[in-house]
């Protein structure tokens, strides 16, 4: 019994496999971390472009004859469609919290009226918690545009 164990330890057969098995998790942790970073960047870009597309729709249609002269249901619907199109995800805005449109006095001291479009998206990393960027969280982007 003892001899068999000693022979196993002394044996140099398949040492590469054993070593690979030791290093593989380290390697995987690195690569998955980078993947998560890439996915996170993608999600960030998605919410950013969604917010910008929504704001652009509101600005373009904010003339006196457009649907976004005030915050009409048609305006909100148009903004959300633009946001869906920008993300390539027709259900991006399905959750009411995902796409928010507001039409308010601007917070800026110079006054005016602003469209504030916010896009939210839940980011779930493959390796949650291991890296600072790989934390399950809601990515959010807001575009604030003054139209008057």
């Amino acid at each position: 019994m003892l001899r068999a164990l000693r022979r196993f330890l002394r044996s140099s057969d398949a040492t590469a496999a054993v070593e690979a098995a030791i290093f593989a998790p380290i390697f995987v942790v690195f690569t998955l971390g980078i993947t998560d970073l890439g996915v996170g960047t993608f999600v960030g870009m998605t919410v950013n472009s969604a917010a910008q597309a929504g704001a652009a729709y509101a600005v373009i249609n904010s003339g006196s004859t457009g649907t976004c002269g005030s915050l009409t249901p048609a305006c909100i619907s148009g903004v959300q469609t633009a946001m869906n199109n920008a993300t390539g995800n027709s259900s991006f805005c399905t959750a009411s919290s995902a796409c928010q449109v507001a039409f308010n006095s601007c917070a800026d001291p110079n006054g005016g009226v602003c469209f504030i479009v916010t896009a939210n998206y839940l980011y779930s990393p493959i390796l949650p918690g291991l890296y600072s960027w790989a934390v399950s969280q809601t990515y959010s982007s807001t575009a604030t545009v003054r139209i008057q």
Binding site: F23, A55, A56, N110, G112
Partner: protein, 613 residues
């Protein structure tokens, strides 16, 4: 020996090979992976920067549009706003010089071009894009380890470090400009067009009461080449005016026009002191209400000129002036018959009163209604009798203006008919005429009357509340009342109470779709010129108080009120000369459109910010 042996053993030994390979390869793989990640991050940053620049430029444009439209085109607040919104959208801090403006007259985008040499559209500052707001956001890429430690093939050397690129985002927003015409309502109700020092003359004892301004245009609008001398003249010691302001083209001083040896003549209209409420204002017209060297355009010149062009509302219809019997026919009911003529192109057919005897038409008593025709019936038209049958009767007719028949035609009671061409309208004696609403065309006058006339102390002319308009135009053919004779007004006595459409005989005139809204008398501007005061006169006199509501428009002739007459109502007048006796009261409440003395200004506003580049 030992060494070489141990070396051989190291090289030969395969234990720990993966660790070694990993140690060598991992940094390389991680390096490339992180470089890729970082380049991805550049794109991400670039994307956010572009969005921020767009939002910033649109917001700055909103501020700039507001500033320009508020009359502060040189305000630079747009730069502050641009900076604030770049910060708000993505937390980019940019200097104010990165928010710049290009217009046809200014361009402060040089700092932006220094940062980012990409040209800005040459359309900026042209009519296609009168104003462009440009926002530039630049940022050096994060100097991550991978960027610093990465290499690429170099020219002249093996490798060189990859430079950290500067990311640049530019947004150009164009702003469109619109020009629109803004008009303000005028405050005047009397406008004299003659370039004469006595364009408005107030006769001795006369009191021109104007709850409005008096304007004398002479010279500038009508006679562009002449020296402007249009003014007001007071003819006698008791002549005066009570008005809210006095606007004249002549180079006068207040003392020169309103004060002479006999004293002051110009008073400020007062609601309580001026007639009809009181006996006269005691407040002198302040210098601030005296405007010399100021032209006042005739605001209706083009509109009225068009009315008398072919097809215009001022062109009278054709009508049947007189009728004779062509064939007598048979079978008609004996007595006095009214025949309605057939044929022609008519909006209303003519009616003729004739005597029928033995079933035949034996005599024409007169034209009862001249009709309103585009073309009167040609040949020998037949007529349809009011009672009974009959046939074969035909008539010969003459086109022309209809002589005002007074109270009856061939014994048939007669009332004025709107929309007909009259030679004159002449009310005399003790008759009262009530004009139904509509347009009355007076062509040239006739031997009874020069146009619209009234005489006789008990004569009265009134109109329907819905209003009437009299078109004074020229006659037809040759002779005294032919094509060169234009109808005028001669109301010598009696009482007149006439209202134009829209006034409802009240003190205001409601806008309507009628071309004649608020217009009571319109004289064809082709009428001969009254070269001096009263040389061709239109008189509104009377022994009672006349009431007129609307505008009397006599652009070539003199309008005068004489003696002790008074005119009330809501009345404005435009004439070449205006001669005032008595106490006529004028107001600007019943003028068409924007009234007299309004201003028309062209305003340029900016709007429609659009992402351009």
């Amino acid at each position: 020996m030992m060494i070489s042996q141990s070396q051989n053993q190291v090289w030969k030994c395969s234990a720990g090979a993966v660790a070694v390979v990993t140690a060598i390869v991992l940094p390389v793989i991680l390096g490339f992976a992180s470089l890729g990640t970082e380049v991805g991050h550049w794109y991400f940053t670039q994307r956010v920067m572009q969005g921020s620049a767009d939002a910033s430029a649109i917001s700055a444009a909103a501020q700039y549009i507001g500033d320009v439209n508020a009359g502060s085109p040189s305000s630079t607040t747009y730069q502050t706003v641009g900076v604030n919104y770049a910060l708000l959208n993505g937390n980019f801090t940019i200097p104010t010089s990165n928010v710049c403006l290009i217009t046809s007259s200014s361009n402060n985008c040089a700092p932006v071009l220094t940062l980012d040499a990409r040209p800005i559209s040459t359309q900026c500052g042209t009519s296609a894009a009168p104003a462009c707001i440009v926002v530039e956001i630049t940022q050096n890429t994060a100097t991550w380890l991978s960027t610093k430690a990465s290499f690429r093939p170099g020219v002249g050397k093996l490798v060189q470090a990859i430079p950290a690129p500067t990311l640049m985002a530019r947004s150009v927003v164009t702003i469109l400009s619109q020009t629109k015409t803004e008009t303000t309502a005028g405050a005047d109700c009397i406008l004299a067009l003659a370039n004469a020092t006595n364009a408005v003359t107030v006769e001795g004892g006369g009191d021109l009461v104007a709850k409005c301004g008096i304007a004398i245009d002479g010279g500038i609008d009508q006679n562009a080449s002449g020296t402007a001398i249009g003014g007001i003249h007071f003819n006698g010691s008791n002549s005066k005016t009570e008005a809210t302001n006095l606007v004249m083209t002549g180079n006068y001083t207040e003392n020169q026009e309103c004060v002479d040896a006999s004293g002051h003549h110009c008073y400020l209209w007062s609601a309580t002191q001026s007639p009809p409420a009181g006996t006269g204002s005691t407040t002198l017209l302040p210098a601030s209400d005296f405007y010399p060297n100021t032209a006042t355009q005739d605001p209706y010149a083009a509109t009225v000129a068009a009315m008398f062009q072919s097809g215009g509302i001022g062109v009278p219809p054709q009508g049947v002036a007189s009728v004779t019997i062509n064939t007598q026919g048979n079978g008609y009911t004996n007595g006095t018959r009214v025949f309605t003529l057939t044929g022609g192109s008519a909006s209303a057919p003519a009616k003729v009163v004739a005597t029928v005897s033995g079933g035949m038409v034996t005599a024409i008593l007169g034209v009862f209604d001249p009709g309103a025709y585009n073309t009167v019936p040609g040949g020998q038209p037949t007529g349809t009798p009011d009672i009974g049958g009959g046939s074969g009767g035909t008539f010969k007719l003459t086109e022309g203006c209809f002589a005002w028949p007074g109270t009856s035609v061939g014994g048939m009671p007669w009332t004025p008919i709107a929309g007909r061409k009259y030679c004159s309208i002449y009310n005399h004696g003790g008759t009262t005429i009530n004009f139904p609403t509509g347009n009355y065309y007076i062509a040239g006058g006739d031997s009874n009357c020069v146009g619209l006339c009234q005489s006789g102390n008990n004569a009265v002319m009134t109109s329907a509340v819905a209003g009437v308009t009299f078109f004074l135009t020229n006659g037809e053919g040759t002779g005294t009342y032919g094509s060169s004779s234009y109808a005028t007004i001669s109301i010598q006595s009696g009482t007149v109470n006439l209202c134009s459409p829209g006034t409802n005989c009240g003190t205001t005139c409601a806008a309507s779709t009628l071309a004649t809204e608020c217009m009571l008398v319109i004289q064809n501007p082709a009428a001969p010129l009254s070269t001096t005061l009263k040389s061709i006169n239109n008189i509104v006199n009377g022994n009672g108080k006349n009431t007129l509501a609307g505008l009397v428009y006599l652009p070539k002739q003199t309008f005068s009120t004489v003696g002790t007459s008074s005119i009330g109502g809501c009345f404005g007048v435009i004439a070449y000369y205006i001669d005032i006796g008595g106490t006529p009261e004028f107001s600007n409440g019943c003028l068409p459109g924007n009234g007299i003395g309004g201003t028309t200004t062209t305003v340029t506003t900016l709007s429609d910010p659009t992402l351009f580049q």
